[in-house]
C-alpha cells in the first residue's frame, strides 16, 4: 500500500519533471521537415494537449499496465524496458558474485591479521576501489585487456544461451568472455565494500565471548573462523550486499554506456539524453517496484540466516 503511494507520488513528480525540460519534437523530427510536419508530429505524440490531460491519460493507461509508447521506438515503454532487463540483471548478478567471491576472503584475511603488510595493502586497495571513478576504471580495463592484451572483447554482449529457460550470456563461452570486463568494472566498488564489511565484522567477532569460549574449548582457529565467525558476519554482509544490488543496477548505467552493454541502464541514459519521456517515467516506475521487491527478498534471506528473526515472526 505504501509502495503504491510512493509509486504514485513518483509518477507525478517525474512525469511533470521530465515534461518541463527540453523539447522532444526537435530531437525526433528530421531537419527537412517543414512547419506543418512538426505540428503533425506534436499532435501524433499527444504533446499538443495540456500537461494535466497528458498525465491523466498516462495514469489511466498505467492502471491497465500500459506505461505509454516510447517516442523514439514507437513501442510500449514497458516492453522496451523488460526487453533490456535481463542483460542488466545478469550483469548485476555477476558483479555481485564477483564482489562476494573476491571481497569476503580478502576481508577475512585483513580482519584476522590486521597488522600484516598484506592486510594493509588490501585495505589501501579497498580505499582506492572506493575512490576510483567507475567510468575511468572501465576505460582502463578496455585499454588493458581488450586493446593491448587482446584477451577479452571490448564491448557488447556476446552470444546468449539458455539456462533454465532464461536467455543469458552466462551460458556460452563467448557470452562469459563479454561479461567479464563490465562485471569486473561494476563489481569494483562492491568488492571494496565487501572487504571492509567482512573485515569489520571479523574484528568485532573475534573479540566476542563466544569466540573466546570456543577457543577455550580447544576448537581449531580454522573451525572457529569458518563455522562460527563467518556465519555471524555473513548476516550483515548479505544484508548490505542485497541492498547494494539495487545500487549495482543504478551504477550499471555508467558501465553499460562504456561497454555498450545493451541493458536498461543504457536505455535510461539514452532516453534521458534524447528526451524519450515515456521511457524515463516507465523506468522509474519499474525501478521503484523493483526496490520494494529487493527489500522483501533481503528480509526473507535475513530471516533464514538469523533464526532469531524467524522465531520472533512466528511468535507474533
Amino acid at each position: 500500500m505504501q509502495a503504491l503511494l510512493v509509486v504514485f507520488l513518483m509518477s507525478v513528480i517525474v512525469f511533470f519533471g521530465v515534461n518541463v525540460i527540453g523539447d522532444p519534437v526537435h530531437m525526433l523530427i528530421s531537419p527537412d521537415a517543414d512547419q506543418a510536419d512538426i505540428e503533425a508530429t506534436i499532435r501524433r505524440l499527444g504533446l499538443d494537449r495540456p500537461i494535466w490531460e497528458q498525465y491523466l491519460l498516462f495514469i489511466s493507461g498505467a492502471a491497465q499496465g500500459n506505461l505509454g509508447n516510447s517516442f523514439i521506438f514507437g513501442e510500449p515503454a514497458l516492453k522496451l524496458i523488460l526487453h533490456h532487463m535481463p542483460a542488466t540483471l545478469e550483469l548485476a548478478f555477476s558483479a555481485l558474485f564477483l564482489a562476494v567471491a573476491v571481497g569476503v576472503p580478502l576481508g577475512l584475511y585483513a580482519g584476522l591479521y590486521p597488522d600484516s603488510p598484506l592486510s594493509k595493502g588490501i585495505m589501501a586497495g579497498s580505499i582506492l576501489g572506493f575512490s576510483l571513478p567507475t567510468f575511468w576504471v572501465g576505460l582502463m580495463l578496455i585499454m588493458l585487456f581488450a586493446v593491448e592484451l587482446g584477451w577479452l572483447p571490448s564491448t557488447g554482449r556476446g552470444d546468449t544461451g539458455h539456462i533454465l529457460g532464461i536467455e543469458t550470456s552466462l551460458a556460452t563461452r563467448d557470452g562469459l568472455s563479454h561479461i567479464l570486463l563490465p562485471a569486473m568494472n561494476l563489481a569494483l566498488l562492491k568488492i571494496s565494500l565487501a572487504i571492509r564489511l567482512t573485515r569489520a565484522g571479523v574484528r568485532e567477532a573475534m573479540g566476542q565471548d563466544y569466540v573466546k569460549y570456543a577457543r577455550a574449548k580447544g576448537l581449531s582457529t580454522r573451525r572457529i573462523v569458518f563455522i562460527h565467525v563467518l556465519k555471524n558476519i555473513m548476516i550483515p554482509v548479505v544484508t548490505v550486499m542485497g541492498l547494494e544490488f539495487g545500487s549495482l543496477i543504478g551504477f550499471s548505467v555508467v558501465t553499460e554506456s562504456i561497454f555498450a552493454w545493451p541493458g536498461m541502464g543504457k536505455l535510461l541514459i539514452d532516453a534521458i539524453l534524447q528526451l524519450d519521456r515515456p521511457v524515463v517515467v516507465a523506468y522509474l516506475m519499474i525501478i521503484v517496484l523493483f526496490f520494494v521487491l529487493i527489500n522483501l527478498i533481503v528480509d526473507i534471506l535475513y530471516s533464514i540466516l538469523d533464526p532469531r528473526v524467524r522465531l520472533q515472526d512466528q511468535g507474533t
Binding site: V18, S131, R203, V253, I272, F291
Partner: protein, 305 residues
C-alpha cells in the same frame, strides 16, 4: 539564560578539551592519514588560491587561444607562459583548468554536503526527539530513500532538473540527506536516554535547549565521519554524472567535465588531457576517504581496545 547552566559548563568544557587532544594524537598515529590530511590541505589551498597562482583564467575567452590547443606538457603558450601540464582541445592550460575545476568540484561536494548535513541533522533530531508517529513516518521516508542508490536518485533528479551547478547540488542534497538523518537519529536516540539529559530535563531546561546544547554536540563525531565520506562520494558522483553528460555544463568545467572531455583523447596518445584531471580527482577523493577512514577508526569506540 546563561547563568542557569553555569554549574554545568566546567564539566562540559573539560570533556571536550581532553578528548580532542587524545583524538588528535590518535589521528596522527597513522602515517597514511597524516599524509592524506596534509595533501587534502594543500589541495584545498591550491583550489582557493587558483585565480592568483594560475597563468590563465580558463573561463575568460580573451585569455584562451584555440591555437594553443592540445599542446603536450611543458609547451610554451602563445601568451608566453609555460603549460606545465599541457593544454586541452580548446587551448586551456590544464594546470589552470584543473585548479579551477577543483574549485568547482570541491564547492559542489562541500556545499551539497553541508546543506544535506543541515537538513539531515534537523530531520534526524526531530525524529529522535519527537518520537511516536512523527518518528515512524520520518524513518519510513528515510529508509525508503536509503533503499534507492544515491547515484540513481541523483541521476533521476538531474534528468528532471536539467544541467547546472545549482541543480546538481540540489540533486546531491536530495540523494544524501537521509544518510545524515539516520546517523543523527541513531546517536540522538542513545543520548536521549542518558542520565545527563534526564538531569537537564529535571532542571526544567527547554526541549530545544537540550537538543542543541546537549544532544547535538554528542552527535558531531559520527556526523563528521559520515560527512567526510559523503563529501568524497558527492565529488565522485558529480564527476560521474558530468561524465555521463547529465551533470555540469561545459561552461562550468569541474574535474568530471575535464575528464569527460579528455575521455575523447584516451586512445589518441594525448594522455595528459584526461590523465591529469583524473589524477587530481583521484588524489582528492582518496585523501578525503583516508582521512574519513582514520576518523572512523578513532571516533568509533567499539574498535578501541
Amino acid at each position: 539564560m546563561t547563568d542557569t547552566i553555569a554549574p554545568e559548563t566546567p564539566t562540559q568544557t573539560a570533556r571536550v578539551e581532553t578528548p580532542f587532544r587524545r583524538f588528535a594524537a590518535e589521528f596522527f598515529e597513522s602515517r597514511i592519514a597524516t599524509v592524506a590530511l596534509c595533501l587534502l590541505g594543500i589541495i584545498i589551498v591550491l583550489a582557493l588560491l587558483a585565480p592568483w597562482i594560475t597563468p590563465q583564467n580558463p573561463y575568460d575567452l580573451a585569455q584562451v587561444d584555440v591555437l594553443d590547443g592540445r599542446l603536450p606538457p611543458g609547451s610554451e603558450a602563445f601568451a608566453g607562459y609555460t603549460m606545465w601540464l599541457g593544454s586541452d582541445g580548446s587551448g586551456r592550460d590544464l594546470y589552470s583548468a584543473i585548479l579551477y575545476g577543483l574549485r568547482i568540484s570541491l564547492s559542489v561536494g562541500v556545499a551539497s554536503g553541508i546543506i544535506a548535513l543541515m537538513i539531515g541533522m534537523a530531520i534526524g533530531l526531530l525524529a529522535a526527539y519527537a518520537g511516536g508517529r512523527t518518528e515512524t513516518i520520518i524513518m519510513r521516508v528515510v529508509d525508503l530513500q536509503l533503499s534507492f542508490p544515491a547515484a540513481l536518485v541523483a541521476l533521476m533528479l538531474v534528468a528532471i532538473l536539467g544541467k547546472g551547478i545549482d541543480k546538481i547540488i540540489l540533486a546531491l542534497v536530495v540523494a544524501q540527506w537521509a544518510y545524515y538523518a539516520r546517523t543523527v537519529r541513531g546517536t540522538a536516540l542513545v543520548e536521549r536516554n542518558k542520565e545527563y539529559v534526564e538531569a537537564a530535563q529535571c532542571l526544567g531546561l527547554s526541549r530545544l535547549r537540550i537538543v542543541f546544547r546537549h544532544i547535538l554536540p554528542n552527535c558531531l563525531a559520527p556526523l563528521i565521519v559520515v560527512g567526510t565520506v559523503q563529501t568524497a562520494h558527492a565529488i565522485s558522483l558529480e564527476a560521474t554524472l558530468s561524465f555521463l553528460g547529465v551533470g555540469l555544463p561545459q561552461t562550468e568545467p569541474s574535474l568530471g567535465v575535464l575528464i569527460a572531455n579528455g575521455f575523447e583523447y584516451m586512445l589518441s596518445g594525448r594522455y595528459w588531457i584526461s590523465v591529469f584531471p583524473g589524477l587530481a580527482l583521484l588524489l582528492t577523493v582518496v585523501s578525503i576517504n583516508l582521512v574519513g577512514d582514520q576518523l572512523r577508526d578513532v571516533l568509533n569506540p567499539r574498535l578501541k581496545k
